[in-house]
Amino acid sequence: MKTTLKTTLIVGLIAVGCLTASVARAGYHALYSVSVSQGSRYGSGSLPGARYSSDGNQYIGCISVLGSGSPYASCYATDASGNSASCMSTDPKYIAAAGTVTPASWIYFTFDQNGNCTLLEVNNASYFIN
């Protein structure tokens, strides 16, 4: 009898947990994996998309380094195949944009033949959150 009651309790708790989880994850959701093109000179992808990808290679991010007289920014990405791309800039606009990346960001950056960032898009949206 005791065992039956305990089992019922556990099953009930699990059911409540599942229900709560499904409610919390309602809403449009999309994972964008990391895409890198060295020929077209761009890198893109969402942080959750990279983090929860099935392979062990993907990542994407930006760093924004601030200090007296030495600010710079760099964005970088590696796709599932291990192809990497990176760009860098000392332009305050890029430094500021790189600093807006959050765990729910989708990043798209392009670069020129010298590795300078030529475009940086940081998209923070609910549907990127995993």
């Binding site: 380094v65 200090g67 030495s70 710079y72 291990g82 791309a85 990176s86 760009c87 033949q113």
Partner: protein, 181 residues
Amino acid sequence: LTPPEPRRAARSPLPRVLVAAVGIGAGAAAMHLLDSAHAPSPQAALAAPPSAATEERPVPVVIGPVSARLSDDDKHAIARMVREELGALQPAPASAADSGAAPPENDRSSPSSPAVAEARERVRVAVEQGIARGTWTDEDVMAMREAMVPMSGQDRVDAIRPLVIAVNEGRVRRVGRGPLF
């Protein structure tokens, strides 16, 4: 990260230049004051000619804070002297052909300390080795960060550029995770 130390190297040569500049400025100001003290006002000159006693009396000169302005030529000359003095302290930078990098977009002849010059050299060597190996590891990244401490953001970007180009062209594979530097 410590701020760049562009003026540290200038300690020995710069004071001489500054002293020279201040001396030129003070001299010009003194001459100006002397001329002003000697020259009578237009009204006084018309009213009465200077007497012999007035001419022989020493004219007191007061040198205080002045806002002496250097001409553009003087500024350029001083800037050139500073560059020459500081240039003599720096090792010759690696040529673009040596590093495989495109030439910098603008010629930066900014002064730098020996520590910065040494850091640049360390980064240059490490980048060359990474490109030769075809890999860039987390250990390389950590070494870069340590070496780059005295460097400004622009210095860092310029120094690491050959590596970024190599990674973007697929010649170097990032082994590990995260930014290149």
